[in-house]
Every structure is written in C-alpha cells, then in structure tokens.
C-alpha cells in the first residue's frame, strides 16, 4: 500500500462508459448517473470492500485522452499527479474497443498499476462483438474483466481482480515513477499517434472480433424517426410537453395533499405542544420555522417526479439527440447543442447545469452558456408559479400562463444569446457521441430521483430556514408592532423599494418576498405565507387575491422568472467562471431584463385596462 492505511483506487475512462454506474454498484452509494458525456464533475468518492480489504474508490470525470486540455482532462491529470494511487481501474465500453483502447495503452505507458474493465458486455453481445479477454490481458500485461455494471454481471470477478492487484502491492518506487511520468505526461506519451494506432490495430486483430455488419437495428430505426429533418424537433417538443403534463398531473395533487396534511399536523400537533411558550416564540416556531419547512416539503413529490422523468430522458440517450436536433439553431445564437441540453437540465435546477458547462473548452462559449442557463425556469420557480396561477386564474387559463412563462424563459435565453454572442464569441468544435438508445433499470431510475430529492432538500434547507426565519423576524420586529404592517421592518423595506418596484405593480409585501427570493426562490412562497400571516395555502391565496390583481401577479411572476435565480446559482457562476466581473454582469443583466419586462407588461396591461378583468 503506497501511503500505508487504506488503498486508493481511481476509476478512469472515456465519458459515458459506465464509470458512475460501476462506482455505484461497487460502493453501494449513489453517484449521479447520466447518459450525457462528461456530467460527473465533482469527484465522487466512497469506500469499497474488496473481499475483506477496504479501499477508497474515486470516480473521475470522463476523459478522451490523457493529453487532452479540456477542464475535465486537466482535473484528471491534476488528480493523477497529486494522488498516490494503488490502482487505476480503466473502464472501457466493450463494443468500442476500436477507439477506446488508446486510453488503456496510455495508462500502461505511464506505468500506472491498472486493471482493465470492459463494461457493457450486454451491448457488446447484442451488437455481435466478441472479445478474447485472456489474450487481451496477456498482450496488455494487465488483468482484463468483461462485465456489465448496469445488470450487475461480472462484478464479483472485477472485485477479485482488483483485490488481487492491490494485494500484489505496488512498490514505492513504482508509484513515484508513475507520478513523475504523469507530471511529464506529454513527453512520456510523445510516441506518435500513428504508433498508438498501430498498437490498437494489432490488439484488435489479436483479441476482438467485430460483426461484419452493424447490428443495432433498434437505434437505427428510432433515429430514422427521432432525428428526422422535419419530424425530429416537433416530436422532441411533444415528448417534453407530455412529460411536463404528466409530472404536474400526478405531482400537483400530491403536493396539495401533502400541504394539507402538514398544515393539519402543525395546527393539531405542534400548536398544542408549544402553547405554553410566549406568543412571540409560538409565532416564530409555527408561522416562521414550521410553515417555511412545510411549504418546501410539500414540493418534494414534484421534484421527485421531475427527476424521475428527466433521468429516463437523459439515460436513454435522447438528450444527445436533442443536441443534434437543436445545433443548427443554437449555432446561430453563438452556442451549440450542448448549451441547449444544459439549459434543459436547468429546468430542474440551474446549479448542476452551470457546472455541466465544464465539458466546453472555449471560454466564450462557456460564459455565454452560463449567461443563459439561469433563465431556465427551475423547479423552485415553478413552485411559485403553480401557486400563483392557481390563485389568480381558472385552471385552463392557469395552464396557459405557465406555458407562457416557459416561452418567456426560452425567449429571455435567446434574446440574451443574440445580444451577447459577439462579446462571447467562440469557435469550439462540436463532436459528440450519439450512444445507442438505452432504457434505465427501475432501480437506476428510482435511486437517481431519490438522490436528487435528497440533494435538493439538503441544499435548500439551510436557505429556506434562514430565509423564512428572517422574513418572520422582519415582519414582527420591532417588538410589539402589528405583524407585517407599515411600521414593521419589512413594511419599511417594502416602502423603500417602491420607487423601483412600484412602476411594475409590485406592492411592498411582494417586494419583500422578491428581496428574499434573491437568496432562493424556495423562500418566496414560505415568505409570502409569513408576510400575509396565512398558513393554509387556500387562505394565503385568498389574502393575495384580495391584495393584488392578476396583472400585478403576472408582473410579479415575470420578475421572479427573470431575475437572479438564487444565491447558489450566483456562487456557482462565480466559481465556474472564476471571474467576479462576469458574475456581476450576469446578475445585473438578469435584474435589468426582469425590470424592463415586468415594467413593459404592467404598464401596457394597465393602459389597456386589463387589471379590472376577472379571469377566475
């Protein structure tokens, strides 16, 4: 063992070869799984038991070439240079050895101790690829295991070979040598591409039999329809629309039921429990903390369903097709198909989508993508809109309003890209794999959705509790003031914002909600509940509808849609762009766009006298 103590094992491979799936199966924990090349951006790490020997397994981002210069490739190189590894597990797609063997050869050239895992044995078999692992192992002088991580075949043998390789032990000099080799990677791998190509050809000749003809009929047929020049895009948007319909048809009733349940729990169980406390403390606990948390928990079923559906679309390989379908359009916006896919993922949550821009090498392209992703109507904002729409509009009209907001979300992204593509020009090549269609197993689907929900909960909890408590305090301080009245702190802040927000039809109470929405949109509803002093969503809706008309409500929704999504997004833009200036620019631009849009809408609608129309 190189460092003494627990051994460290890294999982290395090209994007989309099933590294994360394998990692999850070996460790039992759930890393993010995606069929989108390069989505693993944080280094996931977990303990693995190798037949009695514990070891640390690290899931590295997918890379194409150890000499490459994308951000992910730099991350991997830095990792290899700085970490004393006991073993590198090289994961290749068994059907694509004709191009993927180069990575195994590069690892061998560097002298890193390695085990070669040929994943997706199921697909290789289906496509008629047969591999002589023994002969490959002999030629490469490293253990080779054929397995199928998704269907849990061959995992035992993989563990066995890994344990054996570690037990054999790596000498101190061995790892030192390998680390030094990585540090001078370019020199060590200088051996020309032609030589590498020749070696691959020899290995293929020796150990692999390819089918005389391409066998994946299913993918060929599906692509004929789904990538059809005329039908492709309408089909894609139809699939997306149906998906959203289904999510909300199932999710919204669940959300309402859960909301009612939590509300009666608060009134029936928590209220009696804290009856002895002073009124201020009672209000703080029930109306502040409990209500805020309740509002967010009620929202978890929709998130679960959203990620369930998104996971299927992503895992199936359809998102890569979306990149193909949209690229011609995106190119004219100065972006590419990947920006479109990342924006779509932003409809779940902007934060991982912005991190996903790491697959882009060109800085201009990356920044422009980061500039448009925050306009994707994320699930937290959707929560606000679903509520507002149900309060101010009859169901049919409400659906249209939500749809309109989605259209606005795209429009804002397109306008932004068109305006700034000159400033963030790029000429990054776009070459992407279109993987065969796959369908995730039930286990994969549920563990993925569950992971996302947990992630959302941990991520947002702090903000929500902080935000809701802060709103409650602002409403109820100074002591003895009528809650949320003009004399309270929040009344004061709301009035102070009126010169700016008044012309948008946003009243002082809504202004306070917006102010807190800057921290996270999850706080907006909880904040409104606290501001209007109404726990029950129905009662809150009533109070809101008495206070503002639907034009004001739509103006509020437009503003909420377009201005800064949340502090986490700002933080991740800052860390990914590594530029404070760009971060400021992004925040200010979204504020400006939000203001102008809401202003335009409110003034026009008021001039036309729409405010007095009743749409409910």
């Amino acid at each position: 063992m190189a460092g003494g103590g627990v051994s460290t094992i890294a999982v290395l491979g090209m994007p989309n070869t099933g590294k994360s799936t394998l990692f999850n199966q070996l460790t039992g924990s759930h890393a993010h799984i995606g069929n989108w090349p390069g989505i693993t951006v944080d280094l996931m790490q977990a303990e693995v038991d190798l037949q009695g020997t514990p070891a640390q397994l690290v899931d590295l981002p997918g890379i194409y070439d150890l000499r490459g210069h994308s951000d992910d490739e730099a991350v991997v190189r830095r990792f290899l240079e700085s970490t004393r590894l006991d073993l590198v597990v090289v994961v290749l797609n068994a059907s694509q050895l004709d191009r993927q063997l180069r990575l195994a050869l590069q690892v061998r050239q560097l002298g890193l101790p390695a085990v070669l895992l040929l994943n997706m044995a199921d697909e290789a078999k289906r496509f008629g690829v047969s591999i002589d692992t023994a002969s490959l192992a002999e030629a490469l002088a490293m253990p080779v295991v054929l397995l199928s991580a998704k269907y849990r075949r061959g995992l035992g043998e993989a563990r066995h070979q890994m344990a054996k390789a570690i037990a054999k032990g790596v000498t101190q000099e061995g790892t030192d040598g390998a680390q030094a080799a990585v540090a001078q990677l370019d020199a060590c791998l200088a051996e020309g591409d032609d030589a590498l190509q020749r070696q691959i050809a020899q290995l293929m000749e020796r150990s692999v039999t390819l089918p005389p003809q391409w066998r994946d009929r299913l993918t060929r047929r599906l692509d004929g329809v789904l990538l059809h020049p005329l039908l492709g895009l309408p089909l894609f948007f139809l699939v997306m629309a149906l998906m959203f319909q289904a999510i909300y048809a199932i999710g919204v009733p669940l959300q309402e039921a859960l909301g009612t349940l939590l509300d009666s729990f608060g009134q029936g169980v928590i209220a009696p429990l804290i009856r002895g406390l002073p009124a201020f403390a009672q209000g703080f606990l029930l109306e502040g903390v409990y209500q805020g948390i309740g509002t967010v928990s009620a929202f978890l079923p929709v998130i679960f369903l959203f990620f369930l559906a998104m996971g299927v679309v992503e895992d199936s390989g359809y998102l890569s097709r979306a990149a193909y379908l949209m690229d011609a359009f995106m190119e004219r916006l100065g972006l590419d198909g990947r920006s479109f896919v990342l924006s779509l993922m932003g409809f779940g949550c902007n934060v991982p989508a912005i991190m996903g821009t790491r697959v882009m090498r060109d800085r201009g392209l990356r920044l422009l993508s980061m500039l448009i992703i925050p306009f994707s109507l994320c699930s937290a904002r959707l929560n606000v809109f679903l509520f507002m729409a149900s309060v101010f509009f009859a169901p049919r009209v409400g659906g249209l309003v939500i749809f309109g907001l989605y259209v606005m979300s795209f429009a804002a992204a397109i306008v932004t890209a068109l305006l700034f593509k000159g400033r963030f020009a790029s000429n990054e090549p776009l070459v992407l794999e279109l993987p065969p269609y796959r369908f995730p197993t039930l286990r994969q689907m549920f563990s993925r959705a569950w992971l996302e929900v947990r992630h959302f909960w941990f991520w947002s909890r702090r903000f929500i509790i902080f935000g809701v408590v802060a709103v409650w305090l602002l409403n109820n301080l100074p002591f003895g003031v009528e809650p949320a009245s003009a004399q309270s702190f929040s009344g004061w802040i709301g009035r102070a914002l009126m010169p700016v927000l008044g012309p948008l039809g946003i009243n002082p109470k809504l202004a306070v909600a917006l102010l807190f929405g800057f921290i996270a949109k999850e706080i907006v509803l909880g904040g409104l509940a606290v501001i209007y002093g109404q726990a029950n969503p129905l009662a809150l809706g009533h109070a809101l509808a008495l206070d503002v008309n639907w034009v004001q409500a739509v103006s509020f929704m437009l503003f909420t849609l377009l201005y800064t999504p949340c502090l986490s997004t700002v933080a991740v833009i800052r860390s990914e762009s590594k530029s404070a200036k760009f971060t400021w620019f992004s925040v200010l631009w979204s504020l400006a766009l939000a203001w102008v849009t809401s202003f335009g809408f409110y003034q026009l609608a008021t001039a036309l006298g729409w405010g007095s129309l009743v749409l409910h």
Binding site: D65, H69, L97, Q197, W214, D327, A328, P429, L430, P435
Partner: protein, 86 residues
C-alpha cells in the same frame, strides 16, 4: 460516384476511408479519441437541414459533428464509394 475530398461533403449512405486529419492538435486528439483517425472507414448516416450537424458512423461509434469540423477530415480518393446497407 466519386468520393469527395472531405468528410463534410460525403452524401448520406456513402462511405469512405479517412486519409488525414488536417486539424490542430487539440481537435485532432478529440477526433481520434472518438474514432476518426487515418485509415478508418466512415459512413455518413444523415445530414441535418439548414447547414446543421452531420451524423456519421466510424468503427463501432456513432457521432454528430459540425460541417466545419468535418471539413478537416480528408478522405482517400476513390472512384467508387460503396453505399453500405444501413
């Protein structure tokens, strides 16, 4: 049918052998890692409308790439480019 000089000009269904990758090291690395290297056979599967990307197959891998990038993949000259049954 004659084989065009560059991958970007291959017609759907047509196949050809790659003669050279005329790109800077970064792009060449990426193309080769995805299977587009000298001596490999490529087949054009489809071309998106409005000057959109190309869908090609090389070895056991299917790729999409932009026309500008495909123009950097030189093809071997040949009188016949056999359309391979899909």
């Amino acid at each position: 049918m004659r084989t065009p000089a560059h991958l970007a000009d291959l017609a759907p269904g047509q196949s050809a052998t790659i003669a050279a990758i005329e790109a800077h090291a970064g792009l060449r690395n990426r193309l080769e890692a995805l299977g587009l290297s000298r001596g490999q056979r490529v087949q054009m599967l489809r071309r998106a409308w409005l000057a959109g990307p190309l869908h090609v197959r090389v070895g056991m891998t299917e790729l999409m790439l932009r026309r500008a990038d495909a123009a950097r993949v030189g093809l071997e000259a040949g009188l016949e480019a056999w359309p391979v049954a899909a």
